[in-house]
């Protein structure tokens, strides 16, 4: 029924099956809307957050999805600025994921703040002493950039591109995409960093407080590095998930290899910096503030196993696998490592948001626990459902994976790899087989 809107040369499931797939997600979406309505209309007492736990599951989720969505800016930067052409195979998917993550995060922030009608206050009367101001400005601007980057993907739809106005607009917009990629990279660098810096400047929370490097605490740089490491891994995992669900090959295995290597390279840098930072914190920063660092790990829930997991299990271990070309060839190890990287970023954001606030800092403080209310969980799941629905619709009606059509044709893998490596994204394609080669053959 809707086949005229489906891209040519690819197969999609029937419309009834597709609608059936969307049904449970729509249900989850509706429950989330109701929970959000309760929080906005009746107040934040529907949540289990209080003065002590001002950052609950929502901020944890925000920080996590923003880190996982970093694949959009990092992939765009590598493709359009550093001309890593291989990434054109996943750039659309990265943009969709980025858009879902950032719009979801902004939406949940809006609920968390609880006064959406006064959202403009943050721009008109910002607190210039807060890193959150920088985050707010960067997040908003970057969301606008992501929406602009999403437009060409939609306009590439088989029916929409038949309208000359849309065709020409998409073409011209695509030509100027490097500008948006550069702006996106700039904004992402600062808001990813400032989200980390936010915790590093908490003098009253010695578990998170860090010394400054220049004008930023070290957590600023750790957040940037960790997001850049997790982004490519999350793209790998989502692509694999879509491949499994649709039972199709969507990208060549060399693309996974490239993303794995990229993620591994960033991750090893992050592990190195994180280790140095932790050693400085244990030996200098924390004792300097009157807190022996290992006291923070004496509570049963948050033992040193968390630190070990963060740096070794979810950091060094997957980084070494992803950096080894031999181990990367093993799909279980490749995707297993990508999964560990994503778990690592979640754990890190959990530590920064929940553990930081849970640990007592004053002598009369007690270790407090927090469990999210159903409204908080429903709002969290709302973002998941919204993401699945938007991704599913985009996948069905547009070309998220340009290599899908080629792989559906069953072309020779070696030839395909060759041409993919030789193609650039902007249409100015190059073939290594040049006139020079022909002339050499003649002579």
């Amino acid at each position: 029924m809707d086949k005229l809107f489906i891209p040519r040369g690819v197969q999609r499931t029937s419309l009834p099956k597709f609608l059936l797939w969307l049904l449970p997600w729509t249900g989850l979406f509706a429950v989330g809307i109701y929970a959000i309505y309760l929080c906005l209309a009746e107040g934040l007492f529907h949540t289990n957050m209080d003065n002590r736990f001002a950052f609950g599951i929502w901020i944890f989720m925000d920080l996590t999805v923003i880190a996982l969505g970093a694949g959009a800016f990092f992939t765009g930067f590598l493709l359009y600025i550093l001309r890593k052409k291989e990434l054109s195979a996943v750039i659309n998917s990265a943009v969709v994921i980025g858009l879902i993550c950032y719009s979801g995060a902004v939406l949940v922030l809006m609920v968390d703040v609880g006064q959406p009608l006064r959202a403009w206050f943050t721009f008109w009367h910002p607190n210039t002493h807060s890193m959150l101001t920088e985050v707010t400005f960067c997040l908003t601007c970057y969301l606008v950039v992501l929406l602009i980057e999403y437009i060409p993907i939609v306009l590439k739809n088989r029916k929409l591109r038949q309208i000359p106005k849309f065709l020409v607009f998409e073409f011209e917009l695509h030509k100027l995409m490097p500008v948006f990629a550069a702006v996106g990279a700039f904004l992402s660098f600062f808001h990813q960093g400032s989200l980390g810096g936010l915790f590093g400047v908490l003098r009253g929370r010695p578990f998170a407080f860090r010394e400054e490097l220049g004008i930023w605490p070290s957590t600023f740089f750790l957040f940037v590095f960790s997001a850049a490491a997790a982004g490519p891994s999350f793209i790998m995992l989502t692509t694999l998930l879509v491949e499994k669900l649709t039972r199709k090959r969507l990208v060549r295995s060399s693309i996974y290899q490239f993303l794995g290597k990229l993620s591994g390279s960033m991750l090893i840098g992050y592990v190195l910096l994180k280790s140095i930072d932790t050693l400085i914190w244990i030996n200098s920063t924390s004792p300097g503030n009157g807190f022996p660092a290992f006291e923070f790990y004496e509570t049963q829930s948050f033992g040193t196993w968390i630190l070990f997991s963060e740096i070794v299990l979810f950091g060094l271990f997957p980084a070494l696998i992803l950096l080894s070309s031999r181990l990367r060839m093993n799909r279980v190890l490749l995707f297993g490592s990508a999964f560990l990287v994503c778990c690592g970023i979640m754990l890190n954001r959990f530590v920064m948001t929940i553990q930081t606030l849970a640990l007592p800092t004053l002598p009369f403080d007690e270790f407090l626990t927090y469990a999210p209310s159903w409204e908080e969980v429903a709002a969290f799941l709302f973002v998941v459902a919204y993401g699945v629905i938007l991704y599913s619709l985009t996948y069905r009606y547009t070309t998220i994976f340009p290599q899908e059509r080629e792989l559906a044709l069953g072309r020779n893998e070696e030839h395909g790899e060759l041409s993919a490596a030789q193609s650039t994204d902007d249409g100015s394609r190059q073939n290594s087989f040049s006139a020079k080669t022909v002339n050499r053959t003649i002579s």
């Binding site: 086949k3 005229l4 040519r8 040369g9 690819v10 197969q11 721009f123 008109w124 009367h125 910002p126 210039t128 920088e134 601007c141 606008v144 950039v145 602009i148 590439k156 591109r161 000359p164 106005k165 065709l167 020409v168 607009f169 998409e170 073409f171 011209e172 030509k175 100027l176 500008v179 948006f180 702006v183 700039f186 904004l187 070309t399 340009p402 059509r405 080629e406 559906a408 044709l409 069953g410 072309r411 030839h415 395909g416 060759l418 041409s419 993919a420 030789q422 193609s423 249409g427 394609r429 190059q430 073939n431 087989f433 040049s434 006139a435 080669t437 022909v438 002339n439 053959t441 003649i442």
Partner: protein, 277 residues
């Protein structure tokens, strides 16, 4: 944060912060304005067809962009990245300069896998043929492969006499099997006559550049391998368009084969075969 608004101070930090975000906003807004302006200019200067072909070609899988020198056996594998514009392709020109011996007429057959593909014509990848007329103009029609693909044509729209058509732009439009199909123009030039059914050609074109008018078109020994690839493509396009798996039997394409694929997505099949993205 905005000057003259409560809590704004003329300090270095406020000014830097405002300048940075102002610059970002300005860059985004200016770029979008440029996009709108360039889109408008492209439409006004009649570049829509060129953009459509550029966009379509870019989206074609590499298997549909096979270089003609792969057909002729000059190279084992090569993908065209020049929008099939051989006249501006350095590799093609280098190959042409090394060709010496003319092809023996014995090697050339008009019947290619059951399709009538006369060798006195040149063929465009979009299944239009071109034949040079003694008066220097060119005759244009739909090749046998394309004719069988479209089946019984419901209606056809040819460009008006006197209209200039662009290479790889819209040559003419066909309505068939409920699909509006554009056939790519194999030449750049002016339409000077329409053919009749008896003529077996559709248009007579006065080429803009008579000397190089047919450089990019397939010919002679390139035709058979190209048609073989097209048959292969046809099978794959059926497989991805709801008709299920088809197997090659080595035979010829039967007339009215459409009737045997009632569930096929004809817009998808024909679009793919006539190089629409």
């Amino acid at each position: 944060m905005i000057p003259w608004v409560y809590e704004f101070h003329w300090t270095a930090f406020h000014i830097i912060f405002l300048t940075v975000f102002g610059t970002v906003g300005l860059i985004v807004a200016t770029t979008m304005l440029m996009v709108f302006n360039r889109s408008k200019t492209a439409k006004q200067t009649g570049r829509v067809e060129a953009i459509q072909w550029h966009s379509d070609f870019h989206d074609l899988p590499s298997g549909m962009r096979t270089c003609r020198h792969e057909f002729s056996g000059d190279v084992q594998h090569r993908t065209c990245n020049n929008e099939f514009r051989c006249e501006s392709c350095s590799v093609h020109l280098a190959f042409v300069s090394m060709k010496g011996e003319p092809v023996s007429p014995l090697l050339l057959q008009n019947n290619v896998l059951g399709f009538s593909m006369p060798h006195d014509r040149y063929y465009h990848r979009g299944h239009a043929w071109v034949k040079k007329d003694p008066d220097g103009n060119c005759l244009v029609g739909l090749d046998d492969f394309g004719t069988r693909l479209v089946g019984t044509i419901e209606s056809m729209e040819l460009p008006e006499i006197g209209k200039k058509i662009h290479l790889n732009g819209i040559g003419w439009t066909i309505h068939t099997l409920g699909v509006k199909l554009r056939i790519l123009s194999p030449l750049e030039g002016e339409v000077i006559a329409h053919g009749t059914e008896k003529d077996r050609w559709l248009m007579k074109i006065r080429p803009s550049d008579p000397q190089n008018a047919t450089v990019h078109l397939l010919r002679e020994t390139e035709i058979r391998p190209w048609i073989m690839r097209e048959m292969e493509r046809l099978q794959f396009s059926f497989a991805t368009s709801g008709a299920g798996i088809t197997l090659a039997d080595g035979g010829e394409l039967i007339p009215d084969f459409h009737k045997h694929f009632p569930n096929a997505d004809w817009d998808g099949v024909l679009g793919q075969m006539f190089l629409e993205a």
